[in-house]
Amino acid sequence: MTKHIPMKHDVLQTNKTYAEQNRTRFYDENTFTINLISSPGSGKTSVLEKTIKNLKTIMNIGVIEGDVATDLDAARIAKHNVKAVQINTHGACHLDAKMVAGVLSLFPLKEIDLMVIENVGNLVCPAAFDLGEHVNVALLSTTEGADKVVKYPTVFENADVVLLNKIDLLPYTGFDLKQFRDDVHQLNPDAPIFELSAHSGEGIGRWTKWLKESWVSQTQAKDFDWT
């Protein structure tokens, strides 16, 4: 006999449960956490290196590096004398909250003010997996083209802040800055945009100032927006 079983089961629930546990831990330990999402080659690690240089005198920083196969990025970050832990996804295209939960014990979280989770280079899959972070950072670079904002809308829609890297290459790439700003603004009117270059250092100060202020207002006041 045919049987019908209604389930209404949220497949993302397992991830959401782990993400909430991570968020609670970050909150309890006063660790301000950002999830950095971009496509491969956009300069996530380079931006992160410049960010660390600017902030490490005032904040203790930890980094979780998501990578499909190597530990090259973690090695690069560790050179800056910050604690970096590699998550090797063995082919998976995104980090999930359980993978992040699995490495948190490797950090002295109480001593870490800023945790940066560098997601696997991908503009599609990471958008669907909440990791328990406070701030979602979407990064695009001028060599990728301004159309990527509307082609991968979920990442930009969910971002709390949007970074545009490689602005030193603007004269050579034909990147349409106005279209980029308009599209981000239309998808996500509240997200601030920081245009910068990890190579020349231009704009890095404005971004790290914003990050520092967000850390101060959110972590120290413990006045989080839990949504």
């Binding site: 006999m1 045919t2 049987k3 019908h4 079983i5 209604p6 389930m7 209404k8 089961h9 949220d10 497949v11 993302l12 397992t14 998976a92 295209c93 995104h94 999930d96 991908n122 599609v124 899959c125 958008a127 669907a128 997996f129 991968y152 809308p153 979920t154 829609e157």
Partner: protein
């Protein structure tokens, strides 16, 4: 490519629900998928065809696309265990 992770979770929950519901063979798995999940139906079907096992090995995968970031198993249908 996150379709593989999602289908893996789907199969776990379908197996559990079919066992608890006394269903020995699942014939239909119906999903509701939010457009913003950026799921590719072909990749979803491919992942399902690769990973299908247990009571859902011969099931047909159906889905409905809606607005938002959702990924639900709506219902399953199948044949009741005779014992």
């Amino acid at each position: 490519m996150h379709e593989v992770s999602l289908i893996y979770e789907v199969l776990l929950h379908v197996e559990q629900a079919s066992r608890q519901g006394g269903m020995n063979k699942v014939t239909i798995i119906k999903l509701t998928i939010g457009e913003q999940m950026m799921v590719m139906p072909e990749a979803l079907q491919f992942a399902f065809d690769t990973l299908r096992k247990g009571p859902a090995a011969e099931a047909e995968l159906k889905w409905e696309i809606i607005e938002g970031i959702y990924f639900y198993i709506d219902y399953i249908e199948g044949e009741e265990s005779s014992d």
